[in-house]
């Protein structure tokens, strides 16, 4: 079973929920955590895994053989990312724009284009206690996160309960992380920002036809608009984490909730059971 933890808005507590869910569930079932927030991977700060191997993520980018190239310009015409430019007597390759689709090498009538690997980041794997841990790390300065997310997702171990920590946002890296998951847990906070971004994220899970439920972080009595939205859209609120300076201080130090109070371990185990129940009732 693959459970994604996503939010739309950043900083709502995705990593808190994903890591505590992993730690609490690991007492009962074999668990794997995939950190797909490859721009800013943070789960390792709470699980403190030992990383035992790392693989570079590459995409194929064109290399033009000047002996064969006739500068016909077809490669530049077919490139959807404008990563090739033909100037008199030469083809310029802007490798950082290339998404590695291979259109240029297919199109070249002279077979002058070969492909070479270009590093975008790395996938790092290891263990944190009994938890199998995998994270992606996009190189600083790289814009194209998708292949790194895809490489992390490929490491999913279907013998385990897989928990996916998803990047904030609603665009392509988020969709890539959500593809093929069985259930999506949406983490939000009871503010207009939290509600607005939950609404956007709910549209994404509906588009992907994923069963989903909600965790409200920094919950308090003052704002019930998130609950009302969940009620209207038949989204169950499975857990509320209260607004509490002590919770925030523990987070600041990198201490998981389940280690601060045994009641949280019980709560997160219950959260896992609730997810299983809902996922079985509403298969995606």
């Amino acid at each position: 079973m693959i459970i994604a933890v996503a939010s739309g808005k950043g900083g709502t507590g995705k990593t808190t929920v994903a890591t505590n869910l992993a730690l609490a569930t690991a007492g009962e079932r074999p668990v794997q955590l995939l950190d797909c927030d490859v721009e800013e991977p943070n789960a390792h700060l709470f699980l403190r895994p030992s990383i035992d191997h790392s693989v570079v993520v590459e995409i194929p980018v064109p290399r033009v053989d000047p002996q064969r190239c006739t500068c016909c310009g077809l490669c530049a015409d077919v490139c959807p990312q404008h990563a090739l430019s033909v100037i008199p007597g030469q083809v310029l390759v802007f490798a950082e724009l290339c998404h590695g689709c291979g259109a240029c090498s297919l199109a070249c009538p002279e077979q002058a284009i070969s492909e070479v690997g270009r590093s975008l980041g790395a996938v790092e794997a290891g263990t944190a206690g009994s938890i199998s841990f995998v994270q992606g790390r996009l190189n600083v300065g790289e814009a194209f996160a998708l292949p790194v997310v895809r490489a992390v997702k490929k490491m999913a171990d279907h013998q385990r309960v897989v928990i996916v920590d998803v990047a904030p946002g609603t665009s392509c890296p988020v969709v890539q992380a959500l593809k093929g998951v069985d259930f999506c847990l949406l983490v939000t906070e009871p503010t207009p920002f939290g509600l607005h971004d939950l609404t956007l994220m709910f549209a994404v899970v509906q588009k992907l036809q994923l069963p989903a439920a909600v965790v409200i972080n920094r919950a308090g009595p003052d704002d019930t608009r998130v609950q009302a939205f969940c009620h209207e859209n038949h989204l169950q609120v499975l857990m509320e984490i209260p607004e509490d300076r002590r919770v925030a201080e523990g987070y600041a130090r990198g201490i998981p909730l389940v280690q601060t109070d045994p009641r949280w371990a019980v709560g997160f185990r219950q959260l896992f059971h609730d997810i299983v129940r809902l996922a079985e009732r509403n298969p995606g």
Binding site: E40, A167, G169, C172
Partner: protein, 295 residues
Amino acid sequence: MKEVAVISGKGGVGKTSLVASLASLAAAGHRLVLADCDVDAPDLHLLLHPELREVHEFRASHKAFVDPESCLQCGRCAAYCRFDAIHAGQVDPLSCEGCGVCQWVCPVGAITLREELSGRWFISSTRYGPMVHAQMEPGEENSGRLVTLIRQGARKVAEREEAGLVLTDGPPGIGCPVIATLSGVDLALVVTEPTVSGVHDLKRVLDLCQHFRVPAVACINRYDLHSEGTDVIKNECHSRGLTIIGYLPYDPTATAAIRQGRPVVEFPDSHLAVAVKEMWGRLEAFILALSSPDF
């Protein structure tokens, strides 16, 4: 005209709240244009309540379509697609990059590319000045290009209105939309918080600023939450020669202000509003030092 982008690496550290307050303070002495470049999850409008003036469509993505009448089910498209987006004549629009390789290899010309609506962008007015913002369609791609459109739009409006400052609310992360937000701005204000995640993400986003040679200043939100964490941030900034222009306290007024849909400086007696005002004084000095005659 000067462009200042507020970014953070980590999400949820207070970028949007800060931009709304800085807009309120800046508008008292300058003409400014606001830009919300967090196109995935834009929230600035929830504090500034813009009135829409112009709506523009954003069409940057293409998707493959297979004509079932002429498809031979030969499987060449699936064999050549690098994004695992086409199987047995069926296109998965969420995986399709619109690269056109399938169209190129199809022996019977059964595949065409169609332009899709990826989002919309808007020019609006707020009480602090014009605002350029956008909304992606859920799950769409090319957020970097939409950010670039917003920035071009904001600069154009600023020229027309003779505004000296474009103040931008940036997205979290360090990838495509952040790079599009950051490249070529005059100053980045990097917001962080003294949590283990905040510190980790700060280093990556400062590396990004250095990579693109964007001058940066920092501000620590909720600095009193974890004093050791604040010390780590101070050392990190010091070792990079970066000025910390603001220390903002943990203050429940921050959340109360968001709930009321108002910038926190409208609660002038709060500790937070006082600290933000002080910080604006320093930021204003930094922008003036960038020597722009129109600011």
